[in-house]
């Protein structure tokens, strides 16, 4: 309310001023006699209580203040210039001219309305009217309460389910067979089918004490690192995280995988969910910089393919901000806030102003790389700091030999003795040169780039002297790294080589220059043919002395001479080079987890267009959900995100815990209590069992059991899988199916086809090939491509690929020629959950792919070893490895009848394709 109250005071003054003015003019407008007739004759026909075209009503003052779907106030009392009504009746924009298809109102009438607004839009009897918004009554916007648990069941989960089942004339099914139980629990909790050893161990334990055995199984699975991998996969799905940009060049995002590893670790450490959210939004403030990969999980179009038109670039930035909001909205808030980008949300109480206020929260984020902030004790931090110290001491040794250049992989650093100057000049020593950014640093303010255009530094480089590429000179000091660069070429018949001067606003003592031709290439991408590895043409740097003469400070040929003169110099530079490389591998290195930039003012964009900026807005959550963040209007970007994350990850927020609990329920039972897992708004599904959902949400943030940590995902998961509902059989029942065809009331455990990852990983496990290494660089299945080519699958089944599919490089909209047909996400749009469809292409993939053929032979080979010459035993082993059970006599007979003594890999191929293998039992 802080902004509201000061704004009110301001408008009161304006109104008072205008009133005085109109009284002076002696023209107080009478609403009923002068304004209402105009509205009645021209507007109210379409904008009334019954027919509110574009969501706009002009039959009451409160609705006028609110405005229609556009989100723009029809009237702002005292301010005709800010009143959208004035804009449309004056036909300021031909596309939005009112009344439609009719003549413009008389100038006289327009003027009356203008004056009426200027005088405060006095509407007798309605000055205090407010609109009651029914939408705020929606269930999910109400605080979470803790319903009483019905009696009769040990677990509250079962108690709430049982109540509803009984009301529908249903009951739980019998407990599942132990074989089904271990398979189900293993797939659901780790994404892997159990090994034969795990199965037989469990069966033995189950016979002596079923409950104890099952609890021990659940504890083992929750403690295994595969739990984090499984739940990370779910989370990455929702936010459509991928390791490429998408769009034309679809370039690889270097080291984006550090975020994936962070998520795996977070689930394995059972990081409290509120903390989990907080760090993904503002982890840079608490030494968890890798977590912000979340914000840049979505696709983006790099500037090189957006084109040169400024409007297109503004649009691209707005699109990138939208991707961030979609991620946050769909994964954490359960509100489709993207719907409010162009106009007020059609269904939910989210206004276009809310949308842009939330966009203001993330204005310091740009899609790109930075060195992630790490905790002090992180080994990489320590290594990085050590290396920095060592480099600093080597530099001291170098000083005596004159200037030197360090190759920092993506850029060069030129070091020289401090010198006072007001201008620097870069001379190419070859015919052509290309520079994406030229930075100058001084001793007064280390780390501050003095060459930036935004600091007033002027560029001089006469265009007519050189042939300039299609890119601009200004790119050289605009602070933007990458493909946008200054490129210049010596003219034919001229001996003038390209040069550029940087003129500071005042003299500085400088000692360091950083220069590169395409820093983005090394920092942000990989696996490209002809990637720029810090290439640079030879150059000479000069400074202008007090007499206005240019004096050289460093040059490429000079380094060579100095190297020849001083052996020690060469050796020290070599050491520095090695340290730089080690730093990249083991210390500080840029990762694609978002670049931090200076936030620009945020405006509401009328109809979603950056070409139509409206009122300025400031960081805030959704207004009607107590979204005031209490930050200063121009707070630093990270402070805005900290405040937003704290608002979102609060136990008081009505949506956050409900959305989290429901999503986990969805992963455990195959369908959410709210089936629209990312939409808890008015257009989403109602909860099948709201008491159950609220009970779980309440206990999630504030556990009754003192031993349970608040926001603990593992505790929640344990509670769900220990329930009777999870442990019951999945057998169909004709009578129950008629009442509840999709088992949404959980009278049985609903069977479901497993995801692509489960199929692939379980096959690899059955053959004994699976490398269970956690985390690290993704394994590759694609080629090294040309910049504007499509990725091509090179090898999706060889030994290099025998890791869990979570670690397969995740390329946006690239067909992996194997699992894309299994509804593996294309990572284009947010996916609240994966669809499960059945297509013949899935059958072809599992029957004929190199992967399955190769793995079938390997499983068969393993089975033959187990059989040790006994064919019957080997057949049994195939079933055990893939299905976790021995074949029945009938199935053994089938194998003999079809195959005789034939190729055992065919049995494996058939089992891999069987329904039993493909479904959670």
């Amino acid at each position: 309310m802080r902004f509201g109250s000061s704004g009110m005071a301001y408008s009161n003054i304006v109104i008072a001023f205008l009133l005085i003015q109109s009284i002076v003019n002696g023209q107080e407008i009478n609403f009923a006699e002068q304004v209402l007739p105009i509205l009645e004759n021209n507007c109210l026909h379409c904008h009334n209580q019954d027919e509110s075209e574009s969501g706009l009503r002009l039959d009451s003052r409160a609705y006028m203040l609110r405005g229609g779907d556009s989100g723009l106030a029809a009237i702002v009392p005292g301010e005709p210039g800010k009143s959208y009504l004035m804009e449309v009746i004056t036909h300021a924009d031909e596309d939005m001219a009112m009344p439609p298809d009719e003549d413009k109102l008389d100038e006289e009438d327009i003027d009356l309305i203008r004056q009426w607004i200027a005088q405060g839009a006095n509407w007798p009897g309605q000055m205090d009217a407010v609109i009651k918004d029914d939408r705020l009554e929606h269930w999910s916007f109400q605080p979470v309460t803790r319903p009483d648990v019905p009696a009769g069941e040990a677990s509250p989960v079962d108690a709430f389910l049982k109540k509803q089942l009984t009301a529908s004339g249903l009951d739980f099914s019998a407990p599942a067979e132990p074989l089904a139980l271990i398979r189900r629990a293993s797939i659901v909790l780790t994404g892997l089918t159990p090994t034969p050893e795990e199965t037989s161990e469990f069966l033995t334990a189950f016979q002596s004490d079923a409950d104890k055995a099952y609890q021990a199984l659940v504890d083992r699975l929750l403690a295994s690192p595969q739990f984090g991998e499984r739940f990370a996969q779910h989370w990455l799905d929702v936010i459509r995280w991928a390791e490429t940009n998408g769009s034309e060049s679809n370039m690889y995002r270097k080291k984006a995988w550090v975020y994936r590893d962070w998520v795996v670790q977070a689930f394995n450490d059972d990081k409290p969910y509120d903390r989990f959210l907080f760090e993904q939004i503002a982890g840079d403030t608490v030494g968890q910089g890798e977590a912000t990969g979340y914000l840049v999980a979505g696709p983006h179009v790099p500037v090189a393919t957006v084109g040169q038109e400024l409007a297109a670039r503004r649009q691209a930035r707005a699109d990138r901000m939208d991707e961030i909001l979609q991620t946050v909205g769909a994964s954490a808030m359960g509100i489709t806030i993207g719907c409010a980008r162009c106009h007020n949300h059609k269904f939910d109480p989210v206004t276009i102003k809310d949308y842009y206020s939330m966009s203001a929260v993330f204005q310091d984020i740009e899609f790109g790389s930075r060195i992630p902030e790490l905790e002090g004790e992180d080994p990489r931090s320590k290594t990085g700091q050590e290396i920095e110290t060592q480099i600093a001491s080597f530099r001291e040794q170098l000083r005596e030999f004159g200037p030197w250049e360090e190759h920092w992989l993506a850029f060069r650093e030129i070091h020289f003795e401090p010198v006072i100057t007001s201008a620097v000049r870069l001379n190419a020593l070859s015919k052509s040169i290309a520079i994406d950014e030229f930075e100058v640093f001084g001793v007064e303010e280390p780390g501050v780039n003095l060459a930036l255009a935004s600091r007033g530094t002027k560029l001089i480089s006469p265009k007519e002297m050189f042939k300039i590429g299609k890119q601009r000179l200004e790119a050289i000091n605009d602070g933007i790294y990458g493909t946008e660069k200054w490129s210049a070429l010596q003219q034919k018949g001229s001996d003038e080589k390209p040069w550029v001067e940087f003129e500071f606003t005042q003299p500085h003592t400088i000692d360091l220059i950083r220069i590169s031709s395409n820093r983005e290439d090394f920092f942000e991408t990989d696996y490209l043919d002809k990637i720029n590895k810090g290439n640079l043409a030879s150059y000479r740097i000069e400074i202008r002395d007090e007499d206005g003469k240019w004096k050289p400070v460093a040059s490429t040929p000079q380094y060579k001479e100095l190297d020849q003169q001083h052996k020690a110099r060469v050796a020290t530079l070599k050491k520095i080079r090695k340290l730089i490389q080690r730093n990249y591998r083991e210390g500080f290195s840029p990762s694609f987890v978002g670049r931090l930039i200076e936030p620009q003012p945020t405006h509401v964009l009328g109809r979603g267009s950056p070409e139509n900026p409206r009122e300025q807005v400031f960081a805030s959550g959704i207004e009607v959900l107590q979204g005031d963040l209490g930050v200063e209007p121009n707070a630093a970007g990270n402070q805005r995100r900290v405040a937003f994350a704290s608002w979102l990850a609060s136990e008081k927020h009505p949506l956050t815990a409900r959305v989290a609990v429901n999503r986990i329920w969805h992963h455990i039972f195959g369908q959410g209590i709210v089936t629209t897992t990312s939409d808890f708004g008015l257009a989403g599904a109602k909860p099948v069992n709201q008491e159950l959902l609220d009970s779980l949400a309440a206990d999630f943030t504030d556990p009754v059991d003192a031993a349970t940590e608040p926001w603990s995902v593992k505790s929640l998961v344990r509670k769900l899988v220990l329930s009777k509902a999870f442990r019951q059989s999945s057998q169909p029942d004709a009578a129950a199916l008629r009442k509840d065809g999709t088992s949404s009331l959980l009278w049985r455990y609903p069977p479901k086809r497993v995801e692509a990852e489960v199929i692939r990983d379980s096959i690899l496990r059955a053959s004994g090939c699976l490398d269970s290494k956690i985390g690290g660089k993704s394994f590759r299945i694609h080629n090294v491509k040309k910049r504007y080519a499509q990725w091509r699958v090179v090898d999706n089944y060889g030994p290099e690929t025998w890791r869990r599919m979570l670690y397969q490089e995740r390329m946006r909209r690239v067909d992996d020629t194997l699992f894309t047909s299994f509804d593996f996400p294309d990572c284009g749009q947010v996916k609240a959950k994966r669809p499960v469809s059945t297509t013949p292409l899935q059958a072809l993939s599992l029957m004929n792919s190199d992967f399955v053929i190769d793995q079938s032979s390997r499983i068969a080979k393993r089975a033959l070893e187990i059989g040790d010459g006994n064919r019957g035993r080997a057949v049994e082993a195939c079933f055990e490895l893939l299905l976790g059970r021995s074949p029945t006599d009938d199935e053994k007979a089938d194998c003999v009848a079809v195959l005789g003594d034939g190729d055992l890999s065919l049995v494996c191929r058939a089992l891999i394709n069987s329904n039993e293998f493909a479904f959670v039992p």
């Binding site: 084109g307 297109a312 257009a683 169909p732 040309k786 946006r812």
Partner: protein, 500 residues
């Protein structure tokens, strides 16, 4: 049972599936996929889309997702062939005749922008090929496309197309999936989701990619987005079959048969334990369909039965190697349509990895050479495909669409020999079922810079294509993440004037 009235807020309801099933009166078989496709239990007749209409949800049988389904209304077109030309064909050098360009040749363009997609703009350039009147309609077409020019009396041109992006990948996404961003269902996916297919042994929607590879937006041009994967375009061409179609070389036919036999027995026993489970039955059916596809796809790809006359007409021999390959793709397109495949999307161009103008229609420099090269590949085979469809009477129920993502500028790039991207005006044409012939709709301005009369947005274009397929673009929707999504977002008007 919950009373729907109580669920209702602002006329939108969600019903749980039990009630839906009760209403629809379906048996349990086929439930799983059907209910999935009902989008989380949202019942169509209780939802209003933005246009105020209720969605029409196709009832999809899990066992047979490609079973033919009724359109929203009767229409001539049962199938559609989309010929897509990535890179942006120059409308002013092909079908959009602009005499003013000759008058203004070499001059600064009056009132035209100083900077376009690739940078500063240069002077107006007249068409690089001469225009002349063709057919009975006297339609002016340039010499770049002599073969297509012979058929202008059958075409319905739209000269007032405009798009909202000047970047290729976003432009491709926009015209092929209705959104500039990625991850939305393609036109073909929407059509097969709504209508299924006439042939159960072939994929319902085939994307025949260019011999040079996928276009810039790759799979997004024929992907299923958030629709189930069953409706994505299957990617194959005359020279490369779908992934994993063929029995692996290491397996004999007998071994393959043995696997299938064993699998059938295993699945039958398993199904016995879960009687009436639709998901399991559906998956068994999908293996049977896959088996039939293994026969029918090689069969349709086998061009050996085509006559010498056909091969010659399509230009399989006698031109560039690329023309030969594209010509074979054109023959494949006809064969697929003959078999009843619902949507065939035929690409003439790929991503730009070969360099400017080498792999698609993009022509920033030396347009004279690069457009000529693309035209040599495209013109004769496409014209022959059209003539073939006509001669076989297939145009009576096949809609043909020829489209690019945008046009090219009337002026050259500064100091250049090519034309930059022009999102403001371009030309597409329609032909065949349900479409006027020998007709031109809309106009661009005197330089072909912007749509001037009867502007047709990409939304309008797609709304019209769906209409021609018997589908109401405002009622063909799918619930995704809070919205009833449409191919046309919240826009689009059917261009009535092009309808026969």
């Amino acid at each position: 049972m919950t009373n729907p009235e109580k669920l209702s807020i602002q006329g939108r309801h969600l019903l749980n599936r039990r009630r839906f099933l009760g209403v629809a009166g379906l048996s349990t078989t086929g439930l799983a996929l059907t209910s999935l496709l009902q989008s989380d239990g949202l019942l169509a007749d209780e939802i209003k889309t933005v246009g105020g209409k209720t969605p029409i949800r196709p009832l999809i049988n899990a066992d047979k997702p490609y079973l033919s389904r009724q359109p929203h209304f009767e229409t001539a077109a049962k199938q559609v062939l989309v010929i897509y030309l990535p890179g942006a064909v120059s409308h002013i050098d092909t079908f959009d005749y602009k005499p003013s360009l000759y008058k203004m040749h070499g001059k600064k363009p009056p009132g035209l922008p100083a900077v376009t997609f690739e940078g500063p703009s240069g002077n107006i350039a007249k068409p690089f090929w001469e225009f002349r009147a063709r057919g009975e309609s006297g339609k002016m077409v340039s010499d770049l496309l002599p073969h297509l020019a012979k058929h202008v009396d059958d075409f319905c041109f739209i000269h007032s197309m405009s798009t909202k992006t000047s970047a290729h990948p976003q432009g491709e996404n926009f015209i092929n999936s209705g959104f500039t961003m990625e991850g939305f269902p393609s036109f073909g996916a929407w059509v097969t989701y709504a209508l299924g297919s006439e042939n159960q042994d072939l994929p319902a929607f085939v994307a025949i990619n260019d011999p040079r590879g996928l276009a810039r937006s790759g799979k997004n041009n024929f992907g299923s987005g958030f629709l189930p994967a069953a409706f994505q375009g299957t990617d194959f061409s005359a020279k490369s079959p779908p992934n994993n179609l063929r029995r692996p070389a290491s397996l004999s036919k007998a071994s393959d048969r043995q696997t299938v036999d064993l699998l059938q027995r295993l699945n039958a026993r398993h199904l016995g334990k879960y009687p009436g489970d639709a998901d399991l039955a559906g998956r068994i059916a999908s293996y049977e369909l896959a088996g039939r596809m293994q026969m029918s796809v090689p069969d349709v790809m086998d061009l050996s039965g085509e006559t010498q006359q056909t091969l010659e007409a399509y230009g399989v021999e006698g031109g560039s190697e690329l023309r030969g390959q594209y010509a074979r793709n054109c023959i494949l397109a006809r064969r697929l349509l003959e078999k009843g495949v619902r949507v065939v999307q035929l690409f003439n161009g790929s991503d730009p990895s070969g360099g400017n103008g080498i792999t698609n229609w993009d022509s920033h420099s030396n347009i004279k050479k690069t457009h000529a090269m693309q035209a040599e590949i495209m013109d004769q085979p496409t014209a022959a495909l059209f003539a073939d469809l006509k001669q076989r009477g297939m145009l009576d129920n096949t809609l043909v669409v020829w489209a690019s993502e945008f046009g090219r500028m009337p002026f050259l790039q500064a100091n250049g020999t090519g034309r930059d991207h022009n999102p403001g005006a371009f030309t597409c044409f329609l032909a065949g079922a349900g479409v006027k012939s020998g007709h031109s709709y809309g106009e661009s301005d005197e330089f072909g810079f912007k749509a001037a009369k009867d502007e047709v947005s990409v939304y309008d274009f797609n709304a019209t294509l769906l209409h021609l397929m018997g589908l109401d673009h405002e009622r063909l929707t799918f619930y995704h993440n809070g919205l009833e999504r449409r191919l046309t977002d919240v826009h689009g008007h059917v261009v009535k004037d092009v309808l026969a």
